[in-house]
């Protein structure tokens, strides 16, 4: 009986089977037929983007770049997404032909937007292999020169060469966005892109601020090692520097305010800086803060020589000859050569003072995260907050708790405003936005997608804060042809349409960028305007010169 | 007065072949304390008849017409809730296969407790169990076994349990639906003895559904013979066994081996019961009936009283 059924079954089944297989073949076949075969003589680019959202909406950007470049008709772009860690590793391995990167300033000076990229030493970390001796000397002059007019000329030259060589292509400058509940005040998003927690007042009737972000400490909280934005942000709020840049200011020469130092002076030749220190400050373990600790911090941070550490990257060693402590409350810095942004450098996280007891001076070994011991994981002290809880799983932060530092010098003036801060770390922008929308958190900062910002701007139950943001730029790997040829690089630069990008991906909430020096900063010239936006004709002619098409 | 009164009950099964009358215009009435034996070949509708008194005819079967009265209540039209109260409380029912009639995952005790609780809320578990034990005891089961699971009992034992459950609430009417069919002869005898004993001691009103003439002969006061969903003959046990009138009854009796009668020729009934989907015209038995004459093939014989016995056969119809 069963057998009979099966016999019938087989005829029917074989029928269905065959038809299914036919459908299969049709689908696959049909698909491949419709694939346009790449034309001969096209420039084929392997274009990489960061797929885990470390830079806002990288995936969207990639799609846009692709379509823009392919508008020329002479370029085919193959997109490759890579998560942030491997993206970094690929960068160091010089294995990406073209990729997009971003930058937050260390210290507020044009130099910090030029030297790290265009100097053959500074630019080394990008691994794109750009090297131009003329450029190097110009940068050296510019950074050691104090005269605004002369600096202006120097930077103008630099930016012209930047356009000619096009080693990298500035694309846009985003905004820093913070979203809070309406009764949260004191959020200051200024040109430094610092987040000053101690100025922020929690929602009415609370002394705790619940802060959400997608950031996560990349390496550690050790000023000698950390290079990431969030690391700097935490150092700023947990540690202390000699001087600070006045929150909300435009970070001009006169915008420096006392930190651990009460006053400071510079010698006429610009080679000696003397700082007088606050007296009677105590580390949280009771030890007094003296000039010796300052000397210790700088010597240590340099001695550790962490490969990714800022001290190497920014060349502290080439700059600072010595740090001396003539008295308990005075430090003297002696420089090897004049350095215009020195004060700015002193306000940068790399120059923060560590607690010697928690930060041993053992070269190559920074203070790392220790499970269950937030204090031992954090060499920073003296700041407005103490890190009392730090949950981290497999190199990703889950929750942090900050409590007011009883020894903080600002307590008398009523700072920090929020006595406690709970930091929630979200896996992606959406989770963060959803948490903010559903009122789980009082404040959301980095990274929110433009679509979220837009919907939140129209939400009466939320307050949106706007400030200057990171810059992003395209890096073309000069180790891989055809990008060893400036013409090819210019062709790409010309083909990109910054306006379209800004309006599509960021819904207008970003501004096109034509120089590595961000808009509105001193000495900026819109060099890349000369190549135009979405300038297909130029791009095509350049490519044809190179024999494509 | 009559305890149970069934008037021209019709039970139909709706099958793909159409409607078939499993019970066709059957009328019966049970006096208190009497025992009725309901006999017939399997599939003649006797079980259906029994179940319809509880309105438990399994789907797709349903009661089409007729009237069943239990005491004052109209069984067919009363509410489900009323019906529920009648089941087990006023009518106890014993099923054919004891092996599958108990909930395998419940202890015997639980069966008793939950039944007593549903019908007599407020009885404490202990009392309920106590009653259960008493019942079991009188049925010859050790009371402590009330904590056992069904699968720990033999068939006969389970049937005793079933009887116990049926009697637990002292129903007015007990219906035993082939209570011994699935049991071996020895156990069968025990169960029958038990039933007889209970019948005496409890003055049970009992409907004994079976195809086993022997059992009926020794237990029943009256016997109803069913054929193909209809009553063929209905009378006092003794009369009916003395001089069976309906040819079918005669055939049935002859087909039973009788140890007392030596050298008796066993006869069997030729042919098979009719397919109720398309029943033959006239008397349903005529295709197998030795005495059939043309009238039998045309009109259906009514059930008529003929010296003390009701019989549906044209042979006794003096017209």
């Amino acid at each position: 009986m069963k057998l009979k059924l099966n016999k019938k079954a087989i005829t029917r089944m074989q029928g269905i089977l065959i038809v299914v297989i036919l459908v299969v073949i049709a689908v696959v076949g049909g698909y491949y037929i419709t694939l346009p075969p790449p034309k001969k003589g096209k420039l084929v680019i392997d274009w990489w983007y960061e797929s885990s959202g470390h830079y806002p909406q990288s995936a969207d950007q990639a799609a846009v770049y692709k379509s823009q470049l392919e508008k020329t008709g002479l370029i085919t772009v193959n997109l490759h997404g890579a998560d942030w860690p491997s993206y970094k590793k690929n960068r160091d391995a010089h294995s990406m032909q073209a990729f997009v990167y971003g930058w937050y300033p260390d210290y507020i000076d044009p130099d910090d937007y030029i030297q790290p990229f265009l100097d053959s030493v500074g630019g080394g970390w990008l691994g794109a292999g750009y090297n131009n001796t003329e450029m190097d000397s110009l940068i050296a002059q510019a950074r050691s020169n104090f005269d605004p007019t002369q600096r202006a000329q120097l930077y103008a030259k630099i930016q012209d060469i930047m356009v000619k060589d096009a080693p990298l292509i500035p694309v846009f400058q985003g905004y820093g966005w913070a979203v809070t509940k309406p009764d949260v005040t004191g959020v200051s998003l200024d040109v430094t892109q610092n987040m000053y927690f101690w100025l922020i007042t929690p929602p009415a009737g609370k002394d705790t601020l619940i802060f959400g972000t997608t950031d996560s400490i990349e390496t550690s909280l050790d000023p000698a090692e950390l290079w990431d934005y969030f690391g700097a942000e935490m150092t700023l709020n947990l540690g202390a520097a000699l001087v600070y840049i006045k929150p909300g200011s435009s970070a001009g020469p006169n915008d420096f305010i006392p930190g651990l130092a009460t006053k400071w002076s510079v010698s006429p030749d610009g080679l000696t800086y003397t700082f007088d220190l606050k007296e009677g400050l105590k580390f949280s373990d009771g030890a007094p803060f003296t000039a010796a600790t300052v000397k210790y911090s700088f010597d240590r941070n340099l001695a550790l020589a962490m490969p990714d550490g800022p001290q190497l990257g920014l060349g502290y060693g080439d700059l600072i000859a010595s740090v001396a402590a003539p008295s308990d409350y005075q430090v003297v810095f002696t420089l090897k050569h004049p350095f215009a942004p020195f004060m700015a450098l002193m306000a940068f996280s790399g120059s923060f003072i560590v607690n010697p007891k928690r930060a041993p001076n053992t070269p190559g070994q920074a203070v790392e995260w220790k499970d269950g011991d937030s204090t031992a994981s954090n060499p920073n002290d003296l700041g407005p907050y103490l890190l009392t809880e730090w949950t981290r799983k497999g190199g990703k932060d889950y929750e942090m708790k900050l409590d007011v530092n009883p020894n903080y010098w600002g307590i008398a003036d009523g700072y920090p405003k929020a006595k406690h801060i709970i930091m929630k770390f979200y896996s992606d922008a959406t989770a963060l936005a959803l948490a903010m929308k559903s009122g789980d958190i009082d404040m959301a900062y980095r990274q929110l997608a433009s679509s979220d910002i837009k919907s939140m701007q129209s939400d009466p139950s939320l307050k949106v804060w706007k400030g200057p943001g990171l810059i992003q730029y395209v890096v073309l790997q000069e180790r891989m042809p055809p990008f060893d040829n400036p013409k090819a690089r210019q062709a790409i630069a010309a083909a990109l349409d910054r306006k379209e990008l800004v309006n599509t991906v960021f819904l207008g909430n970003a501004s096109p960028l034509y120089s590595m020096i961000p808009n509105g900063m001193a000495f900026q010239t819109d060099g890349f305007k000369t190549l135009g936006d979405g300038n297909t004709t130029l791009s095509v002619s350049l490519l044809q010169e190179l024999g494509y098409g | 007065m009559a305890l149970l009164d069934i008037e021209s009950l019709v039970v139909e099964y709706h099958t793909t072949k159409g409607r078939t009358k499993a019970v066709d215009r059957v009328s019966l009435s049970m006096e208190k304390g009497h025992t009725l034996g309901l006999v017939g070949e399997s599939g003649c509708g006797k079980s259906t008849l029994g179940l319809s008194t509880l309105r438990l005819v399994p789907p797709p079967g349903k009661i089409a017409s007729g009237k069943i009265t239990l005491g004052e209540t109209d069984v067919i039209n009363c509410s489900d809730e009323e019906m529920r109260r009648i089941r087990g409380k006023q009518i106890g029912y014993i099923f054919q296969d004891p092996m599958t009639s108990l909930n395998p995952v419940k202890k015997i005790g639980a069966h008793f407790v939950e039944m007593i609780h549903t019908h007599e809320p407020g009885v404490s578990d202990q009392d309920a169990l106590k009653r259960g034990k008493d019942v079991l005891e009188r049925l010859g089961i050790l009371p402590e076994r009330i904590d056992d699971f069904p699968h720990q009992f033999s068939g006969g034992m389970r049937q005793r349990v079933m009887i116990g459950l049926a009697l637990a609430l002292g129903p007015d009417l007990l219906i035993a639906d082939e209570p011994t069919t699935s049991l071996d002869v020895i156990v069968e005898a025990q169960i029958i003895e038990l039933l007889k004993e209970l019948k005496k001691s409890l003055k049970l009103t009992l409907i004994l559904i079976t195809h086993n003439i022997g059992i009926v002969a020794e237990t029943a006061d009256r016997v109803a013979v069913m054929y193909a969903g209809r009553l063929a003959e209905l009378g006092e046990t003794d009369d009916l066994f003395e001089k069976p009138m309906h040819p079918y009854t005669q055939a049935l009796l002859n087909s039973v081996p009788n140890i007392t009668k030596k050298g008796q020729v066993l006869s069997w009934i030729p042919g098979a019961p009719p397919d109720l989907a398309e029943p033959p015209p006239g008397c349903l038995y005529h295709p197998r009936c030795p005495h059939a004459f043309d009238r039998c093939t045309k009109e259906e014989p009514p059930l008529m009283k003929h010296n003390g016995t009701y019989v549906a056969c044209h042979l006794y119809d003096k017209r």
Binding site: A431, L434 | L56, R87, S101, N103, P104, T118, A166
Partner: protein, 343 residues
Amino acid sequence: MSLRSYVITRILLTIPMIILLLTFVFLIVRILPGDPASLHFEKQVDPQLLQQFKHQLGLDKPIPVQFVDYLVGLFRGDFGKSMQDFSPVSQQIFSAFPATLELAIWATMWMMSIGIVLGVQASRHYNSAQDHSIRVFGTASYAIPVFFLGEVMIMIFAIYLHWFPAGDRIYPGMTPVGLTFGDFHFATGLFVIDSILEGNVQKLLMSIRYLLLPSLTLGLVLCGIFIRLTRGNMLETSQLDFVTAARARGLRERTVVYGYALRNAFLPILTMMGLQFAALLAGAVLTETTFSWPGLGRFLVDRISFRDYTAIQGVVVFFGILVAVVSLAVDILYAYLDPRIRF
């Protein structure tokens, strides 16, 4: 055979299964793509660094040695080191597990209750419109990607109606501390239980509020199989004599349906629950990602984006062992529940 010997044999059967499974995962990570370490670096790293890296993870030893270490380690509850920061994966697994467990428990409750109730309904109104619509619903529920359902849920209940939070486990800083007197702390990591232990009603309600959407989503996607199973078994058991007998004893319809028909249909449903546990975990991975639920699933997905193969191996192995143990437990429970196996 006696219950005891049954249990023992069942356990003995589980052990080789687990070993096989561990081997399988081990092979996937070691053999399948080549060398996980260099893969971690996208094959772009100087050999010296790679060597050191491998050494720290014990990946430089010969495969058989690694295998032994791995098994011994697992036996001691060591799930290997993370490629990210060389921290022991077991720490993270155990700290993330309660979240997943809580989600799983609640999802199971949804899945069972929805599945069984609908299944019973369908079987009671066999072949009616209700029956058919329930069956269609059941079939459709297989076909829905759990994260799609999750997104829809969020869209409706969190974005538009603002009834429930869109993700996470509890309001920041509200994590229940569990039982505390003096220096003694005891927390299960299951927030509902912990908040009860803490005796904090607000936290209790809150953790339930956060649990509702994710668990319901997961439960809905998995309830289909139970609808079908319950329906089928109910249809069978309802035919059985003891159900009719129960009716004949005048038991209430509820008792008959749930106490007799369902009670006897329940054992296969229970086994299916054991089988479904795997599906439950798989679903949890996606659900957790959708609702940013800080459990094992989210941890696994994090690890993927970090190319942290040792951690991935750890989590996967943990899942495997978990499933094996649970199905074992379910089978044993089955044996206890079904008296017929008791001799």
